[in-house]
């Protein structure tokens, strides 16, 4: 049979893998419709993810995990060769950590290895520096499924081994480690999302942030379960899983939108876009839904998970000692800061990219996105609606998963009722519209932009002098000055500067040493052989003589 000689491969479906399959289905369908359906490697990539999700034994899990990495490496390679080897290096590093973990007895070392391996693949800090580089490289449909799906498969492995396989041996500090990694990812991810100029790198930064949010949720759940508080564990798990579902919907939507922008204007750099809403109204409308999710605005798909997560963290702040209290308070501050940063990034993405005046001829001449891409985006937007307006229903669907992970839990009903809130929001809006319709002076006159008194732009700049327009870098400049001087050293991501570059320098030094060995002459090579022989004989002599 297929698989290990003599043992073959075993698949099985339980509530957890069913949920993650459900997360995969809409985004795979959308990117297949949006044009990726024709590529064989894409379907191999999907098969790898499905195999990893349905794996029952270690071989199948690693087989699926690495098949997924191999196929996505090829797609990244075809896109842009630069980050391909870094990407596949991290993918193999994560498999190299997972394989030992699956064969060690359940315990702290095994969980740390799972955390390291799956964390590297999911983009948890400090191993996240590759994600903003690799995810923008392949075509939009692929980076949509990479950010939306592949990252979830890595988190699935953490959940599977954190809660189910090593459930009995779980300790509170496991949760704390996951929370620390998650918090770092949230901060760095949202900061990168706010400061990046490239559209797809911006979205990849936001992926790192949402992975951090999910990791924080899982960490709080793991810690609560280990400390024997199933209610809080259930609440945190609901937050994490709902965030995974929501992110799996609006992020691919945004990536497909970015792909449509690249197809229409040939660039994804925000400083060259602007006023796309005029040329691409439908794609713009759908991007608004995605941006609402990314910014976690109420009545949008992203708010329910953020709501639950903040309540879970507040609940967790009550438990544990003084260190836990200070830690969770700082975590709350970090979550608030990154929520506002995510809002800023979404507003910057929509405001600079889609509203305002075009900053290049391409942006001005952008035509509507292709129909299949719009169809894909519409499908995802349609799936976002139930998560946005009926999160209670989605959480009810997830009940069996929560019970599987935290057996003694009774998930509490959701305190956030978006439908009633919608009434409170749209009621006054409708009233205001009607009142204005009746009393205010109707009609509107088209006038040139006042623009602080600047004169009418010259003829050769029909859409206005770019200097008088806000730019993406300009929008992020105050924040860069206030926040990132200490958090983000000039050379780029801190994890890159303090983790990746030193390792690269070490590798260079050892390679130079190996080169010197390779360049040795015949006599020196004989000396190596002879020296090794004499050492072995000495070892043998001492061993037997002694």
């Amino acid at each position: 049979m297929f698989g290990l000689p003599g043992q073959g491969m075993h698949l099985r479906v339980d509530a957890l893998s069913l949920l993650f399959l459900a997360i995969l289905v809409p985004q795979v369908a959308a990117s297949a419709i949006a044009g990726m359906g024709r590529s064989v490697t894409f379907w191999v990539f999907i098969a790898g993810m499905v195999c990893a999700l349905l794996a029952a034994d270690a071989f199948t899990l690693i087989f699926g995990f690495e098949l997924m990495s191999a196929a996505s490496w090829l797609l990244v390679l075809r896109g842009d060769r630069g980050p391909a080897s870094l990407y596949v290096g991290i993918a193999m590093f994560s498999a190299a950590c997972l394989v030992p973990a699956l064969f060690l007895p359940a315990g702290s070392l095994a969980f740390v290895l799972v955390l390291l391996g799956a964390g590297a693949k999911a983009g948890l800090a400090p191993l996240h520096f590759w994600l903003p580089r690799a995810h923008p490289a392949p075509p939009a449909g692929v980076s949509a499924v990479m950010s939306g799906g592949m990252v979830k498969v890595a988190l699935y492995v953490i959940i599977r081994y954190g809660f189910v396989e090593y459930g009995a041996a779980a300790q509170p500090w496991w949760g704390a480690a996951l929370i620390a990694a998650g918090a770092a990812s949230v901060l760095l991810g949202s900061l990168r999302a706010m400061l990046e100029v490239e559209l797809k790198t911006l979205l990849a930064g936001s992926t790192v942030e949402h992975v951090g949010l999910i990791a924080v949720g899982l960490g709080v759940a793991l810690r609560a379960k280990a400390m024997g508080d199933p209610a809080l564990a259930a609440l945190a798990l609901q937050a994490a899983l709902l965030c995974a579902v929501a992110h799996g919907l609006f992020k691919p939507l945004l990536f497909l939108g970015a792909g449509a922008v690249k197809a229409a204007t040939g660039t994804t750099s925000l400083d060259w876009l602007g006023g796309l809403m005029r040329g691409m109204p439908r794609a713009g409308g759908l991007m608004l839904v995605g941006a609402a999710g990314m910014a976690a605005l109420p009545l949008g798909p992203g708010f329910a998970p953020e709501f639950l997560l903040l309540h879970a963290v507040i609940g967790a702040a009550g438990t544990g000692g003084i260190l836990a209290r200070i830690g969770f308070t700082a975590l709350l501050a970090a979550l608030g800061l990154s929520a506002a940063l995510a809002l800023g990034a979404a507003v910057r993405l929509v405001g600079i990219g889609w509203l305002g005046r075009p900053r290049s001829l391409h942006a001005a001449a952008a035509g509507e996105a292709a129909r299949p891409v719009l169809a894909g985006m519409a499908l995802l937007a349609a799936c976002c609606v139930p998560v946005a307006l009926a999160p209670g229903f989605v959480l009810a669907l997830m009940r069996p998963v929560i019970l599987l992970l935290v057996p003694a839990a009774q998930p509490a009903p959701l305190a956030y009722a978006p439908l009633w809130l919608a009434v409170l929001v749209f009621g006054p809006a409708a009233a205001a519209f009607l009142l204005l319709q009746k009393f205010a002076r109707r009609g509107a006159r088209e006038v040139p932009v006042w623009n602080g008194g600047f004169g009418r732009p010259p003829a050769w700049l029909p859409f206005g002098d770019p200097l008088t327009q806000p730019s993406a870098t300009g929008f992020a400049a105050p924040l860069r000055r206030a926040l990132s001087t200490d958090l983000l050293p000039a050379a780029g991501d801190p994890s890159e500067v303090f983790l990746y570059l030193p390792l690269l320098r070490l590798h260079m030094r050892v390679t130079r040493l190996a080169e010197r060995i390779r360049r040795s002459t015949i006599r020196e090579r004989l000396a190596f052989v002879f020296g090794a022989l004499v050492m072995f004989l000495l070892a043998l002599g001492l061993e037997q003589g002694g």
Partner: protein
């Protein structure tokens, strides 16, 4: 006249025939016909393994069949090589080249089928001398230097192996059943009553044998000769066929390891062979991990990759236990298939780019093959990808078995193993981009695919089937071998 004996004699008789008559093209076709006959004989050998000096056990038969098959496909690739590189060598040298192909094949089969230690040693020595002459054929200075290095290092290794063989004979003297004469030199007899051998002498013999056959298996620090031997000399013999000599040496090491292990388990005072093998295996893995990144010549680059994989096989034997040995043997099988397919594809690529001499295999020359010939580009990319051990490639299964056994039996060693595998895989996969997808160098012509590419595809298919869909009888066969050699 057992088929094993026939399979050994046919190439050794064919060698002088090809050496004396026929043009380069006729020599290539002669080679193909002879290799076809040999392949048939190696398959028939399963029925009648023969007795006495040349009597193959199942391990020898399996690898003999593999050698026959790879010999056949290499001969097919050789035709394209000869046609493309006809001008590089004179007529006399072409004849010597075809003769050396047959001598090399004959010595490999002798090494696999010989049950006698002395015959095994003679076979390995014959392979070394044939290889040295083949490497020295082109008239360039670097080929001469590579051949000189091959001869000195190979000769030193051979001398150590001979000394080890004598010590094994000496260790077998006190055993009541064996006594002097041929009986004390046959693997089967030695393995049968390993308990009665003198353990301490056997350990000393094992050190010398490990260094002797380790040189032939290109384990670090004995690997000096391989990268240059692979890079110089006519491609088919110095890469594909010399890849098969690695298997002979690895199987010899496996058999001697079994003698030590059996003596240890039967209460003799032999030392456990594990640490010796682990040290050399890890050294090979780690040194190649750092030597792969700066290579500009494809054949030298994949030569280092061969050192890495033979190091991994020896590492698996060092771990010990039936499963690890099963993984090691499977790894040798799959690696031989993939590596020979890769070199054949490289030969096709060099033929496409028109320069089959040793200089023509630089990565700069072979850039952007996808534009030259779609099938060749994808297949070459597939072969290089198969070397990395990522899932669609069969090596994933064997590396998975080895790593999982390492974690269960020697967890601490799994750290350097993981690091070595990771770095080697990254260094290899970095070359696929430029090799296949980059824009080709200027003024390169694109040519239709030659039929030999189908053989390369056959190799890859076999690797996938042997790894993921291994048929029942092969699983049984290999697990019997593994448990026998535990």
């Amino acid at each position: 006249m057992s088929f094993c004996l026939l399979a050994v004699i046919v190439p050794l008789l064919g060698a002088p025939l090809l050496g004396l008559l026929g043009t380069a093209g006729q020599g290539a076709w002669g080679n193909l016909v002879l290799n076809g006959v040999i392949f048939a004989l190696t398959l028939l050998a399963f029925a009648d393994p023969g007795a006495g000096l040349i009597h193959a056990d199942t391990l020898g038969l399996v690898f003999g069949a593999l050698t026959g098959f790879v010999g056949l496909t290499t001969a097919a690739a050789n035709i394209a090589f000869v046609r493309a590189g006809a001008a590089t060598l004179s007529l006399r040298r072409w004849r010597v080249y075809h003769a050396m192909c047959q001598v090399l094949l004959g010595s490999i089969l002798l090494g696999l089928y010989a049950d006698n230690l002395g015959l095994l040693w003679v076979a390995v020595e014959g392979a070394t001398i044939a290889g040295t002459l083949a490497v020295s054929l082109p008239r360039t200075a670097s080929a001469l230097e590579a051949a000189w290095k091959y001869f000195i290092l190979g000769g030193a290794g051979i001398a150590l192996a001979l000394f080890g063989t004598m010590l094994v004979y000496l260790a077998a003297q006190p055993a009541a059943a064996l006594g002097p004469g041929l009986q004390a030199m046959s693997f089967a007899a030695l393995a049968a009553n390993a308990g009665k051998l003198d353990g301490a002498l056997l350990t000393l013999a094992f050190v010398f044998l490990l260094f002797g056959y380790g040189t032939k298996a290109a384990l670090v620090p004995l690997h000096g000769w391989l990268p240059d031997a692979y890079a110089e000399g006519p491609a088919p013999v110095t890469t594909c066929l010399s890849g098969l000599t690695l298997n002979v040496a690895l199987i010899a090491i496996l058999r001697f390891r079994h003698l030590m292990q059996a003596n240890l388990q039967a209460g003799g005072d032999a030392l456990p062979p594990g640490p010796f093998l682990l040290t050399l295996g890890l050294a090979s893995l780690l040194l190649t991990a750092f030597s792969l990144s700066r290579r500009r010549d494809a054949r030298r680059f994949f030569g280092f990759s061969s050192i890495e994989h033979s190091g991994l096989a020896v590492f698996a034997f060092g771990i010990g236990g039936a499963a690890a040995i099963f993984g090691g043997i499977l790894h040798m099988l799959l690696h031989t298939l993939v590596k020979s397919a890769l070199f054949q594809a490289l030969i096709q690529a060099a033929a496409l780019r028109g320069d089959v001499a040793p200089g023509g295999f630089g990565f700069a020359h072979l850039r952007g093959l996808l534009h030259g010939n779609r099938w060749l580009g994808w297949l070459l990319g597939g072969c290089v990808f198969a070397l990395t051990g990522l899932p669609p490639s069969g090596l994933f299964v064997s590396e998975f078995i080895i790593v999982s056994q390492t974690i269960q039996r020697a967890p601490l060693v799994s750290l350097p193993l993981g690091l070595g595998l990771l770095l080697c895989a990254i260094a290899i996969i970095r070359n696929i981009g430029p090799l296949v997808f980059d824009p080709p160098p200027a003024r390169t012509v694109s040519a239709p695919a030659s039929p030999a590419l189908a053989l390369v595809a056959l190799h890859l298919a076999l690797t996938f089937l042997a790894a993921f869909l291994m048929p029942g009888f092969l699983v049984l066969l290999l697990s019997q071998i593994a448990s026998a050699l535990q």
